[in-house]
Amino acid sequence: MPKSKTEELPVIWLQGAGCTGCSVSVLNSVSPSIKNILIDEVIPGKHINLRFHPTVMAGAGEAAIEVLQETQQQKKGGYVLVMEGAIPTAKGGIHGVVGEENGKPVPIVSRLESLGANALAIIALGTCASFGGIPAAAPNPTQCLSVEEALKVARITTPVINVPGCPPHPDWFVGTLASILLFGLPKPEDLDEHGRPKAFYGTLIHENCPRRAYYDERKFAKKLSDPGCLYELGCKGPVTYADCPTRLWNHGVNWCVGSGGLCHGCVEPAFPDLVSPIYEKIAFP
């Protein structure tokens, strides 16, 4: 077999207290397709080497866990850790475990700590990983933390990039990964106060919403499925930073507000508790 000249970026993808929606969303990437990302040199000369992903990987059990151990030792400082889902920490993290060591289940928080400490960078994918999300919503039964919070407790300083959304748009993740491949890790000025790439989270939904003219003219929808601005029905577009209205979703077919489903601020640390009830309006001038 000819020796590869391709630069490989190893990626470990861990799942915590989440729903796999972030993974499904990434599978929806159009261009590059998920096949381009996993099989091809997604950037000429560079390949994403996805070594571990519970939903798609061929191997299972111990052989899969060995991949984690080998990667963190052999590629120390050179792999990207993608964390999907929040980190349960109540009672030592007993509510979420992955694999065993010496016959004992290993909590997700321990996996994050060991894999996170040795990673080049961590992408906290989705609102659960970025900010805690729904598993951390009141009363947070399993004391879920965000990735950054969990790393702070463990005093791990590996850089974290938050790519929130429930789920995140595939472009936000693929764009972040592509940016690392092309230009290296983001500089502090590339990320906002919540650690999110400004390229995707820099503008309010409200700024670019096609229904903004209705808002400005005070033409509010009185019930769902009516035309008009959805603010009175509970839309959180005015307080949500994401480029959904221009990027659109699922290959440009539609997006939440476009389909008459109001925005509930899923990219924000406020989601869900501080934007609830979803169908009640927030005070906004």
């Binding site: 391709t6 998920i34 390949h47 990987m57 061929a58 191997g59 729904i134 399993t142 499925s225 609830s276």
Partner: protein, 519 residues
């Protein structure tokens, strides 16, 4: 004698562990364990009931649409509007759910199950002109083969050309399932986690361009189902035909039915649906489903023992992480104290046994091809075949629903939020029977309960030590090579487990399930 532990089980949704005790090459005991708990029902308590459609979808990002439908039917009944949903709303909900199931089943066969049977490494020998296969060949030559390695070795049986073609279909399936989700978003807004299905109907109005756009995406998917997906399942079945006699399971099946054909009947046990509601065993004599006969047992689950065997509306569940004898975060749903398997096999066979003519001819043609009787379908291959038939059956029904849409007519009906009420929503999720129940007090959620299909299937042993359906399917299996237990993972994946679903909620306090108001 050995103990085979597989943790994590991959190519499922969620966190799962399987343990099998093997004696003289045969599984004597099996344990199926859910290894993540989040506590959705605690999180839902005290919230505005309308939030349930959005929040319960996050129980699972692979099958969220099924939850949005169950939640919405649940709230429709609690809000007293179950029989008032405009036809456009009913039809669009069916189309959104159908799109979700098409995408989900394609994902399951190719992304989740196929790598147990298809050897990607054979593409290294490909010499043709298919550009996708050539790019896979170059990938193999570069030498970094994650996520396709590591893997079990020793039982990949497809001849080179067939295997390479299946690998090409795997690549094609990645695109087709994406297109299924795009189709869904025409009416659902986005995927995963749609915003379009709401109590009262849907939020998106049908226009002629949406109808035709949906139709032509659907036609492309139907072509894939008929000419790629279903034939691939049958090809696999021919080469791995011993799997018609592996993984039988408990032999009892349960379906809630799904896809509303009539919007006037508020009682979900009487409503006319595309897939039929019922229970069935190997004798194929259907009997009815009475939701009040469902209980959840916790003998081997990490919940307080005092709360066992409660009807979902009556339980009080407290996590008990160190409980003696417990090995799973899943509870054990039982019907009349019996374990029931749910899923495409259940809804296909119930619909078949109730005489639905299209389903009858679909199933009979499969049985004729393999010269098999219906009980061969209670197997690994039966589940895969039934899943493909279920996909075709719903995809073929969707053009009819599309053409019944009436642009300009309502899709949604308003309601007032009740102070006190109860509701129930039952639907066939992709993976089987899914139920949501709500109790509203002072205008807020007092209790919200969910029993998902994977809880039924992957449940641990119950109060009578009766193993769950997957555990029963594993027991008695002959394992040829304990280092590469293909048989076990093929059985597990035939059930299409979704563990985020199965460990979502614990039963809160409430009244008797049988006394909910449905209209």
């Amino acid at each position: 004698m050995g103990r085979i532990t597989i943790d994590p089980i991959t190519r499922i949704e969620g966190h799962m562990k399987i343990e099998a005790v093997v004696e003289e090459g045969q599984v004597k005991e099996a344990r199926s364990s859910g290894t993540l708990f989040r506590g959705f029902e605690l999180i839902l308590q005290g919230r505005d009931p309308r939030d349930a459609q959005r929040l319960t979808q996050r129980i699972c990002g692979v099958c969220p649409t099924s939850h949005s439908v169950a939640a919405t039917l649940n709230l429709d009944s609690a809000f007293g509007i179950a029989d008032k949903i405009p036809d456009n709303g009913r039809l669009i909900r069916n189309l959104i759910l159908g799109a979700a199931h098409i995408a989900d089943h394609i994902l399951h066969f190719y992304l989740l199950a196929a790598l147990d049977y298809v050897d990607i490494a054979k593409v290294a020998r490909y010499e043709g002109t298919n550009s996708e296969l050539n790019s896979v060949r170059r990938f193999i030559e570069r030498g970094e083969l994650g996520p396709f390695l590591p893997r079990y070795e020793g039982d990949y049986r497809l001849p080179d050309e067939v295997d390479q073609q299946m690998a090409a279909h795997y690549v094609k399936a990645l695109i087709m399932r994406r297109k299924g989700q795009e189709m869904l978003s025409i009416f659902g807004g986005k995927m995963p986690h749609n915003v379009g299905i709401v109590p009262g109907g849907v939020t998106e109005v049908p226009t002629v361009d949406k109808i035709t756009s949906f139709l032509w995406k659907l036609n492309e998917l139907r072509d894939f189902i008929d000419n790629v997906y279903l034939p691939d399942v049958l090809t696999l079945a021919e080469v791995y035909s011993d799997y018609f006699a592996i993984g039988k399971g408990c032999g009892n099946l349960l379906s809630y039915g799904g896809y509303e054909l009539d919007g006037k009947e508020p009682d979900l046990t009487k409503r006319e649906r595309l897939f039929k509601q019922g229970r069935i065993s190997t004798d194929l004599k259907p009997s009815e489903v009475d939701p009040s006969r469902i209980t959840e047992q916790v003998r081997h689950s990490w919940y307080a023992s005092s709360t066992t065997n409660r009807n979902p509306a009556q339980g009080e569940t407290t996590p008990d992480e160190l409980k003696e004898g417990a090995y799973s975060w899943l509870k054990s749903p039982r019907y009349d104290g019996q374990a029931y398997e749910v899923g495409p096999l259940a809804r296909v066979l119930v619909t078949y046994a109730k005489g639905e003519p299209t389903m009858k001819s679909l199933v009979d043609s499969i049985l004729a091809r393999f010269k098999a009787s219906p009980d061969a379908l209670f197997s690994v291959l039966g589940r895969h075949a039934a899943r493909a038939l279920s996909t075709k059956f719903v995809a073929d029904s969707m053009p009819g629903w599309l053409l019944q849409l009436k642009p300009g007519e309502p899709v949604y009906i308003g309601y007032s939020l009740p102070e006190e009420s109860r509701g129930m929503g039952l639907v066939e999720a992709a993976r089987g029977a899914l139920g949501h129940w709500v109790e509203i007090k002072e205008g807020k959620i007092a209790n919200y309960q969910v029993i998902t299909p994977s809880t039924w299937n992957e449940s641990p042993r119950d109060d009578k030590e009766q193993p769950g359906p997957l555990e029963q399917a594993l027991m008695g299996t002959k394992v040829k090579d304990e280092e590469n237990p293909f048989e076990l993972v093929r059985i597990v994946r035939s059930f299409d487990p979704c563990l985020a679903c199965s460990v979502h909620v614990i039963t809160p306090k409430g009244g008797k399930l049988g006394e909910f108001r449905v209209s």
